[in-house]
């Protein structure tokens, strides 16, 4: 990229610091994986064939430690009530629990609590921004910043999960804006060679993953954000695969919005988070409307609460929020640097042992440089469904298919792939079992 500004250099430094944390193994205590595994009841069950469960699908959803399950159970057992309604004791306790969870989650990502919007998922968080932008067309002057129409451009990447692609395609369809995208290189990095053309004065928003769910690639979000901001564009980062796996501080992120899901970070399903800069959230029209988010309702029309309430219509998912807060406690208890170091070690080992198998092609970067713990691969002559079936028979759970990233697979010349993804409870022995399983699949399908 030409014309690198001081701001971009600063942003690049932040990206490097982020990458350094990915590899910050030396000064962090190793995780006590055996003790961690004891916290996860599901890891004690047997699966097909009576085999112990080897769960390598945390990129799809993670398991939940007892501490998270207990927190949810305690809420339902002792405090269950509709938060932000009613003046009775349980109502107060539920409200405190829910708002306490918001404070806890905010601390986890270095945000202010009123910048944390609870959604049902990362997917909904991204849709919230996309719909706010089309709803801006008919909202008041505060929403001017978010209006898009013909001549405007929304910039995404070919690497995105469908959740950070389809909402932007649909926004363009609703508004007449044009969708453009960064391509990917053959080794699974973002191709930023034409960034100066792609990010231009027509660019209104850039949506980019903070870590690919297929290749683990960590794009330089800070650098991209600096370029986008120089043109007045907003930046949305999809943190579904980054927030669970390493320390993410929104102050140094560069993006204006960050979306992530609880269920991928040891928390419950049914709740996600949209972090947004306060001044931006304040100008955004609502997406889902109804109870809780209103200020005044008359038959002729209504006014809305400030953020975050404006974006949280309906009875809040308080138990899930409490569970997510417990997951933040659990992860911070381990230390996110230690979590990242553990996963880096597993990823490096998986790249090595899978890479040693003839016929295996790893999609994406072959080193852990700017790369997280999702390892997708193809096995020559064996469809991923069939690889996954053999692994399942051995008790090994992996993801097979396109992992909700169809364009990325096309770009990398793979119809689909098998993905192993790691978390705090995985071991090097499990990576060995995976490699053995792949060899067994080869033996089974290439016999005769």
């Amino acid at each position: 990229m030409s014309g690198v500004s001081a701001a971009q250099q600063a942003a690049a430094a932040v990206d490097d610091a982020f990458a350094a944390r990915l590899g910050a193994a030396d000064d962090t205590a190793a995780l006590d994986v055996e003790a961690i595994r004891a916290d996860f009841p599901i890891l004690g069950r047997a699966v097909r064939g009576g085999n112990p469960l080897i769960y390598l699908d945390s990129g799809a959803t993670s398991h939940k430690p007892r501490q998270v399950l207990d927190a949810e159970r305690d809420f339902y057992t002792m405090h269950n009530s509709a938060a932000h309604r009613g003046a009775h004791l349980l109502g107060e306790e539920a409200t405190d629990a829910y708002e306490g969870a918001r404070v806890r989650v905010a601390a986890f990502i270095g945000a202010d609590p009123d910048e944390v919007v609870f959604t049902k998922s990362a997917t909904e968080a991204i849709n919230l921004v996309a719909y706010a932008m089309s709803n801006a067309a008919t909202a008041g002057p505060d929403a001017e910043r978010f209006r898009v129409g013909p001549g405007d451009e929304i910039l995404v990447t070919e690497m995105e999960h469908h959740a950070n692609l389809v909402p932007w395609q649909q926004l363009c369809q609703r508004t007449g804006a044009t969708l453009r995208w960064f391509g990917v290189t053959s080794d699974g990095r973002l191709d930023l060679s034409n960034a100066d053309q792609l990010i231009n004065d027509a660019t209104r928003l850039v949506a980019v993953t903070h870590q690919s769910n297929v290749t683990g690639t960590v794009p330089p979000v800070g650098e991209i954000a600096a370029l986008a901001h120089a043109r007045g564009a907003l930046v949305v980062a999809d943190g579904a695969q980054s927030v669970p796996h390493r320390a993410v501080d929104v102050a140094g992120l560069g993006a204006d919005f960050l979306a992530f899901s609880a269920h991928k970070m040891l928390g419950p399903s049914g709740i996600g988070v949209l972090w947004g800069r306060r001044r931006l959230l304040e100008g955004m029209p609502p997406y889902v409307t109804g109870g809780s988010m209103i200020e005044m309702v008359r038959m002729e029309g209504s006014t809305f609460m400030p953020p975050p309430e404006r974006f949280e219509a309906g009875v809040p998912a308080a138990a899930q929020a409490v569970g997510l807060a417990a997951a933040c406690d659990y992860l911070d208890g381990l230390g996110m640097a230690a979590v990242a170091a553990h996963e880096e070690s597993l990823t490096a080992y998986a790249l090595e042992v899978l890479g040693d198998i003839g016929g295996v092609r790893i999609l994406g970067p072959l080193s852990t440089d700017h790369r997280g713990g999702a390892v997708s691969f193809t096995v020559e002559g064996i469809h991923p469904h069939d690889v996954g079936q053999v692994l399942d028979e051995l008790g090994i759970a992996v993801r097979t298919g396109h992992h909700c990233a169809w364009p990325l697979h096309r770009a990398l010349g793979a119809q689909s792939s098998t993905r192993a993804s790691f978390y705090v409870y995985n071991t090097h022995d499990e990576v060995d079992a995976l490699a053995d399983g792949v060899r067994q699949a080869q033996k089974f399908f290439t016999a005769q």
Binding site: H383, H385, Q389, E393, T400, Q415, S416, F444
Partner: protein, 169 residues
């Protein structure tokens, strides 16, 4: 290992050496079906003929990308239904769908299903049923289009076709 009950030798044989594969001319209808969960796809053509006043399957040709189950299933299907009347082929298709939905409790009739009984084990793996049905659903759709006179050279809509596959399961 239970793998052998899923991947019976007949299935592996058809997978390695699929029958009737490749797209052929002429055809009365062509459809493109996908399995949205894994991206597997099949382009399938049917040619009908008249058999004593009743429509019959003159040819089924296809090109497919997918796993062993979906490839073998399309191959076995083509073997079984080419030459049958459409009515007979629909009966076989119905029996196959019933077998797939049996959760391993089906009692397949080899007289009706022929080699397709080998797919009995698939019904125990719900995630794989769509694989086995991909070709069959494409054939049903293409045949319906051909019978409706939408062919020759009619083209199915991918999204509708994918939905049709889902609804059948």
């Amino acid at each position: 290992m239970q793998l052998e009950s899923l991947y019976q030798e007949i299935i592996l044989d058809h997978y390695r050496r699929p029958h009737h594969k490749g797209l052929r001319e002429p055809f009365d209808a062509q459809v493109f079906h996908v399995n949205p969960t894994c991206g597997d796809e099949v382009t399938l053509r049917v040619t009908l003929k008249d058999a004593g006043g009743e429509p019959a399957v003159a040819d089924v040709s296809y090109d497919a990308l997918g796993c062993s189950i979906s490839q073998a299933s399309a191959s076995v299907m083509a073997d079984m239904i080419i030459g049958k009347t459409v009515r007979e082929a629909m009966d076989i298709s119905g029996a196959f769908l019933e077998l797939m939905q049996s959760r391993g409790a089906g009692e397949p009739d080899e007289d009706v299903l022929g080699d397709a009984v080998a797919f009995e084990g698939v019904s125990k793996y719900p995630a794989r049923i769509k694989c086995a049905l991909l070709g069959w659903m494409a054939w049903k759709d293409a045949t319906a289009q051909a019978m409706d006179g939408r062919g020759p050279h009619g083209r199915g809509d991918a999204a509708t076709a994918a939905n049709a596959t889902r609804e059948q399961i």
